[in-house]
């Protein structure tokens, strides 16, 4: 491998370029016509425009990306997260073109991307799953019977959905029948696949996940992260390791993720996601993501491993590092989005004014910003991730407070005021949270008094 093409944009493209450079690889950054000025284009050795702003015509255009690789002589493609990162057909095409796809092969992506199949695979590997349908439910009467057996409320999920899309909750049978029919119709329209499955709702669950790495033969874990603070099913704050888990539960959780990865001869970086029920101490598999995740720096801060470099090394035929990864302290990440918390998180594409990035020990800011940069409105609102490490959780919280105060992104509304408010919330300080905590907290906390635009 000599030259890596980055089939993504924004902060993760910058992150991949840095990892590639550390491994001595040349980089090719593809971009849409709206992204000619982005930071990753400036940092890469070469840049190729692959289409108009709309992602369907650029970052999701496999043909154009492969053509860019051919023209520049790139011999590997890193898909980042989102876009084509979990598209099995794309992984297949990259391999058929004789290039290295940085991630698992198409068959593993297909298996894990089909939520019902992934759930069956988890059960086969003795990983606990949320009580629910074993696979896709075809008949509405059977589905309603099963829902009653599991006990309401139940969750209806689109088999082809992801990132929180296509999920509905039903409180009773009447609602269930309505929601299930609608979910199937919508999934058919959005994903071309109307398959749905159902799951028990764990009332006060935490979202915990395990970072794994496989080389096709063996697999290891890099401990867990907790991402319970979510808004509209999007994570906004992540930390690791989860302060809710004791040593025994953590070991059981992490081993189950490794078992699942080994059972499919997993190759590359992956995340096994679970719900954790505080009351019972039980954890349940929800899905596996076959890509590098937004919140991977949390793990990097506590283990000292460069996960992006590691996944590239494995794609080149490297082996996983044997043994248990060391772990040191506690890390917290917050997502700085171009959204106005004072105005119901309205997107705020704008021009970056003065930028001040904290330079402190154990603080890292992964971002796509520079002064004068015009944030395009066509893509997601993530500007960067502020990540801190402390000796323990209290230390990490204190460091986050200092780092946030030093971070200045002028000219834009960002989610910074949300995190300043969250740092003051007693439930956050004591880690008494669950996946629906943030939305109810937001209902009773007025963030409109802050000054969103600095």
């Amino acid at each position: 491998m000599q030259k890596l093409l980055i089939a993504n944009r924004g902060e993760i493209a910058v992150r991949v370029i840095r990892a590639a450079r550390s491994l001595g690889l040349k980089t090719v950054q593809v971009h849409s016509s709206a992204d000619a000025d982005m930071l990753a284009v400036r940092l890469a050795d070469e840049a190729v425009e692959i289409g108009p702003p709309h992602a369907a015509k650029s970052y999701l255009n496999a043909e154009a990306i492969l053509e860019a690789a051919r023209r520049t002589g790139a011999d590997a493609i890193h898909p980042g997260y989102g876009f084509l990162s979990e598209n099995a057909a794309f992984a297949d095409r990259v391999a058929e073109a004789g290039l290295t796809f940085i991630g698992p092969n198409g068959d593993i992506i297909r298996l894990m991307g089909d939520k019902a199949a992934a759930r069956q695979q988890a059960a086969k590997a003795d990983v606990p799953t949320v009580p629910g349908s074993n696979g896709i439910v075809a008949d509405m009467d059977d589905a309603a019977r099963l829902a009653a057996e599991i006990g309401y409320p139940v969750m209806i999920k689109a088999a082809a959905g992801g990132g929180g899309r296509g999920i509905r909750i039903a409180e009773n049978e009447e609602r269930f029948r309505g929601h299930a029919t609608q979910a199937s119709t919508e999934a058919k329209a959005a994903f071309g696949d109307g398959g749905i499955y159902i799951e028990k709702v764990i009332a006060r669950a935490r979202h915990v996940e395990v970072q794994i790495m496989g080389d096709g033969t063996d697999a290891v874990h890099y401990w867990d992260r907790e991402c319970s603070l979510q808004r509209r099913r999007q994570k906004v704050w992540e930390e690791g390791p989860s302060a809710a888990l004791g040593d025994a539960r953590r070991e059981a959780l992490c081993s189950s993720a490794v078992d699942l990865a080994r059972s499919v001869s997993y190759k590359g970086a992956g995340t096994v996601e679970y719900l954790y029920d505080d009351e019972s101490g039980e954890f349940y598999f929800i899905e596996m993501n076959t890509r590098i995740q937004v919140e991977h720096p949390v793990t990097e801060m506590i283990t000292g491993v460069d996960l992006v470099a590691e996944m590239i090394r494995i794609a080149q035929g490297g082996k996983v590092r044997p043994g248990l990864s060391p772990r040191n302290g506690h890390a917290i990440e917050v997502r700085l989005n171009a959204e106005d918390p004072a105005n119901d998180f309205m997107p705020f594409p704008g021009v970056v004014g003065r930028l001040e990035i904290p330079e402190m020990a154990d603080v890292r800011f992964d971002h796509m910003l520079y002064e004068g940069y015009a944030i395009p409105p066509f893509y997601d609102s993530l500007l960067g991730k502020l990540v801190v490490r402390g000796d323990d959780r209290a230390d990490a919280l204190a460091r986050m407070r200092t780092a946030l105060a030093k971070l200045k992104i002028e000219g834009l509304a960002t989610t910074k005021p949300l995190f300043e408010a969250l740092l003051d919330a007693p439930d956050v300080q004591s880690n008494s949270v669950h996946t629906r905590w943030l939305e109810s907290w937001l209902e009773s906390h007025d963030l409109s008094k802050g000054r969103p635009v600095e």
């Binding site: 709206a34 108009p52 702003p53 709309h54 369907a56 329209a189 959005a190 171009a338 959204e339 309205m346 997107p347 594409p349 409105p377 066509f378 893509y379 997601d380 609102s381």
Partner: protein
């Protein structure tokens, strides 16, 4: 008198609620103030674009699923 409906937002303009559905409005159709004539997608969130006057929609000045800038004319009413 011709009236122009402009987008207050930057993003991607859509004429249909979803790819499989019919457009909100067609050329030649009568629209009333407050009618939805399209969507603007800004950073993965969708915002409805409303007619700010009554009239007959004589033409769309932008194609479906094309980029739009703030202040850009979306449609002309007569």
């Amino acid at each position: 008198m011709a009236h122009q409906i402009k987008s207050p937002l930057p993003g991607t303009f859509y004429r249909k609620p979803s790819p499989e559905e019919a457009p909100f409005k067609s050329e030649g159709e009568t629209v009333a103030k407050g009618d939805t004539i399209g969507l603007v997608e800004v950073m993965k969130t969708f915002h409805q674009l409303h007619a700010d006057a009554d009239g007959i929609l004589t033409s769309f000045e932008i194609e479906d699923a094309e980029p739009v800038a703030p202040g850009q004319v979306i449609a002309t009413l007569d």
